[in-house]
Symmetry: C2
Subunit: 568 residues, 2 copies
């Protein structure tokens, strides 16, 4: 493809992207395809001869778009948002044009220098304490990682090496001695990373990658699924009692399931007691809200007070497309000391001068893309003011949605405090039980009249509570006399029923693809998570989504009343 060919192709792609975006609302958010759909459409070998661009572009429309989940649709309310905006897309274009796996400063100084500058911009925009700035006296700074998972693994390596060094030093073991090596090898096998049971799975995966253990700490709904100091301290003490060495703790600002926030203030009181425990704050999604003063006032100072490192993903809610995970550390030396390797072919006078940053020592990979450009473009195109307006809009849409759920408290209950535009709702157990009772009456009638080959409704009903593979399995305590569940069993059974029907509602909604929401189970409750950070999402989208949820709920309840789900 020569310059003229690219000019024509690129202009066509720009138009195609604009058209794609303008039709997003009308497309089903989830694709209507079966696993393996693409294998039938694409040859099993690459072509021997070149193909012209128009042919390739046509296949995007006919083969690729039908298989996409449209994360940019305002009807996408699943997981967390992962937005792309036009300025961000322009950033990707330049980043590709300037391709350089900029592992050293010298490899393309602008890549490194712009990153340092925009990371400071971001830290200031979020009112993070000065200790996270590249200009801080303590040697802080920010770096763009691909994902929160990478940020966590990387800081875990730094934490692990710091922990082992400090422990060995404290025991007076001299560097390079067999004694020290043996002691470190022993301690290595005892290291344990911690997080609450609400933290993202990346901490557990990080422990796996770094070859350390992992323990999760229980939270409870009555404490809004937040990790508190007493629970943390109990867990730490249990680790010590078990001969384990807690070296890393992930706290969360906005957990994946319910956007819970760990109790930073109370945990801060433990900080001095466990100085060698690396505390990382994962604010992957909700960190974007720190662009607003009210959240800064609430969280920013605590973040500086308790955490060694902090990350949030601009690529979720803050209008920069994946990947742009911002990691800030209070002391970059812990990263570079743990991760720096300096083979001859990477040595150069600039690196040796100590005047430049080589971000390769702040991350797992060596090479890196020029991701600072898209952040720079987005922050300038929107201005801080524009970013604030965007987050405020999402919060308003979320509040509207929450209010609608509250209005229908006859049908739904809200689980955990709605936060950061996320609402978690669930069918009320009472409603589920009422529908099931109705079903029993129908079945009993059919059974009495000799109609249908159904099993006896009582046993069928009880059995079905744990019947399906994708449904919750549970042993229900049955009253010996009546062969019906006792009081405790009844409560348990109604919870299970509400869980299963909530899952049915979610699955039915997603199978139709009008909106996409995520069912999940936390604290034994199956929830439907609804969150839209889309910049074009409005109260009308929230209304439409809620209407679909209500309609589908009625449908599932009706089927349940008719006993239809038993026959499927």
């Amino acid at each position: 493809m020569d310059q003229e060919g690219f000019r024509k192709a690129a202009h066509a792609v720009v138009e195609h992207i604009i058209e794609y975006n303008s039709t997003l609302s009308d497309r089903p958010v989830l694709p209507k395809i079966q696993p393996g759909y693409l294998r039938d459409l694409i040859p099993s070998n690459a072509p021997e001869q070149p193909e012209p661009w128009p042919l390739i572009q046509a296949d995007i429309e006919s083969q690729i778009i039908p298989g996409l989940t449209h994360w940019q649709s305002p009807n996408f309310m699943a997981f967390f948002p992962a937005l792309v905006t036009y300025p961000s897309l322009l950033g990707e274009m330049y980043s590709a044009a300037f391709t350089a796996p900029a592992f050293n400063w010298l490899c393309s100084p602008a890549c490194t220098e712009l990153e340092t500058i925009v990371m400071d911009w971001v830290a200031k925009a979020l009112a993070l304490p000065d200790c996270f700035l590249s200009t801080s006296s303590g040697g802080g700074g920010g770096v763009i990682h691909g994902s929160a998972s990478e940020a966590i693994v990387t800081t875990m390596v730094a934490a692990r090496e710091r922990y082992l060094r400090v422990r060995a030093d404290a025991e007076g073991l001299r560097d390079g001695t067999m004694e020290r090596d043996d002691r470190i090898a022993f301690l290595r096998g005892r290291l344990v990373a911690l997080s609450s049971d609400q933290a993202h799975s990346s901490t557990q995966k990080g422990a796996l990658i770094t070859g350390t253990r992992y323990r999760s700490i229980s939270t409870c709904l009555s404490e809004d699924l937040s990790l508190t100091a007493p629970r943390l301290e109990e867990a730490l003490q249990q680790c010590h009692a078990d001969g384990l060495e807690p070296y890393y703790l992930t706290l969360t600002l906005g957990t994946t399931s319910t956007c819970a926030v760990d109790d930073f203030a109370s945990i801060a009181t433990l900080r001095s007691k466990y100085p060698n425990l690396w505390i990382h704050i994962d604010a992957a999604y909700a960190g974007a809200a720190l662009i607003l003063q009210e959240y800064q006032a609430q969280y920013s100072q605590d973040i500086g007070r308790i955490s060694d490192s902090f990350n949030f993903n601009m690529h979720k809610w803050l209008l920069v497309n994946f990947d742009a995970s911002c990691l800030f550390v209070q002391n970059r030396n812990h990263l570079t000391r743990a991760l720096s390797i300096n083979p001859s072919y990477l040595q150069n006078n600039f690196t040796e001068s100590g005047l430049v940053t080589d971000y390769r020592d702040w991350q797992i990979p060596l090479g890196r893309r020029f991701r600072a450009l898209k952040i720079w473009f987005v922050m300038r195109s929107y201005g801080i003011e524009g970013l604030r307006m965007h987050i405020e809009n999402s919060l308003r849409v979320g509040e509207t949605f929450t209010a609608m759920v509250v209005e229908r408290r006859d049908l739904f209950e809200i689980i955990a405090t709605p936060r950061f535009a996320l609402t978690c709702l669930r069918l009320r157990p009472g409603v589920a039980v009422a529908a099931r009772m109705k079903q029993r009456q129908v079945n009993e009638k059919m059974y009495m009249s000799g109609d249908a080959e159904l099993p006896h409704p009582r046993s069928a009903g009880i059995a079905s509570w744990g019947a399906s593979d994708t449904r919750e399995e549970q042993t229900i305590k049955v009253d010996a006399q009546s062969n019906l569940p006792g009081r405790e069993g009844q409560e348990q059974a109604s919870e299970t029923l509400a869980n299963n029907l909530t899952k049915d509602i979610a699955d039915l909604i997603n199978s139709r693809g009008e909106i996409f929401i995520t069912p999940t189970t936390t604290a034994r409750k199956t929830l439907i998570r609804v969150v839209s950070g889309n910049p074009v999402a409005s109260k009308e989208h929230a209304r439409k989504a809620f209407d679909i949820i209500v309609r589908t709920t009625e449908e599932v309840l009706d089927k349940c009343r008719q006993g239809e789900d038993l026959r499927n």
Copy 2:
């Protein structure tokens, strides 16, 4: 930025990129800026209000481009190439437009399915054995990682867990017992990863991240810096003698310093003796040459016979822009078993059906970009035929360059066999010594005539061999009688002198920025690496580069003869 704004901006960016590319040859390949240049040009805070696009784009030209190292310039001959082509850039545009952190199949089925298909395309285009195909009976397959470093860390985790499991099983220790856990904790501390001393530093860094040890195995120039079976076996036995457990070995097809290739054929004979040792073949750069039949005939079968996993970076030499590192494994279960974590919010019926691939379990991060698009575009736009022509062109340019160096064997020696378009050259020690002798005569004359405040040339000369920070330091064996180096010392001294002057030549060339080449030191010899995989590079570029090297060499030698370097 609305649709109309994007249309205008994107078209302007396309034109800017075309213009940038067409002026690349004329720009100095290395920027003429000092560390920190950008800090003075950019405000220290993000703007409060939005800025218009034309203002932002203008800053690309005035602030960013002056700080870029131009990897796409045909005068870039440093490191390895990291190319971008127009079809690849179009892939990045669509990838951004379709942004979805596609961690699950369901998150955007087309992302996953296209990746599986194009990875099979790539494997077939390289004539990799069928065991690496997604359709293989053994459960092989390919996945796109961001970098070779990630591919290596990921397979190290899989290798580590496989090793520990197999060992514990073999010792009859039952799952879930304290005994097994303790044994595994012990073994974990004894694990060691291996590679030759020529392998890329990513294996050492991978060992660091996974919390295991690392040992490098010496190679020698007389064996063309290739790792052989006897050297490997000796190293393995030494590990066992030291109570260590070798679990991972990186072999290289095209090492970073000299493009050496480890001796796959001889190492294959050891395979059955160490079945639990995971062998990874890192062909990050040179793997692209497997597009040609002559290299397929030489390497592809051996790769299948000895390696558990194989990676090469399309983003180096094969026209897809960074990042596109292709990792192939013979048994994907080792990855998923080691890396799979399945929290509730990621569960879905498709994943549970087992019919779909969730690439998140094949890598460290959770989210992933839609990188398959750019590979698809490049393979279709060029056709396999076009890819072959590109690699052949690079090889011809490389051969031309090598021939020119050979012609000037009076000045240069070639270190290691030139391969894969890379030539490593170095000033002949004899030439270096002759220049230095001349300098002594000059100095002696000046000293005798009472001119200059120079120290006595003899001592000054000897001292300066190890004087500078960036130069090699070495103790020269001095003859007690004459206070001049003895025979052995003379050889050593001339080697050191050739190293230092070669480094001077490289530094002077790079400081001028006409071409960019990499100096490195391997097997105690400082080399200048010259490699250009640029698709527009021609014999004329090779000629120009060589002329610059010769001219600069003469200049450095002249200065040396004049004793100028002593006075700086």
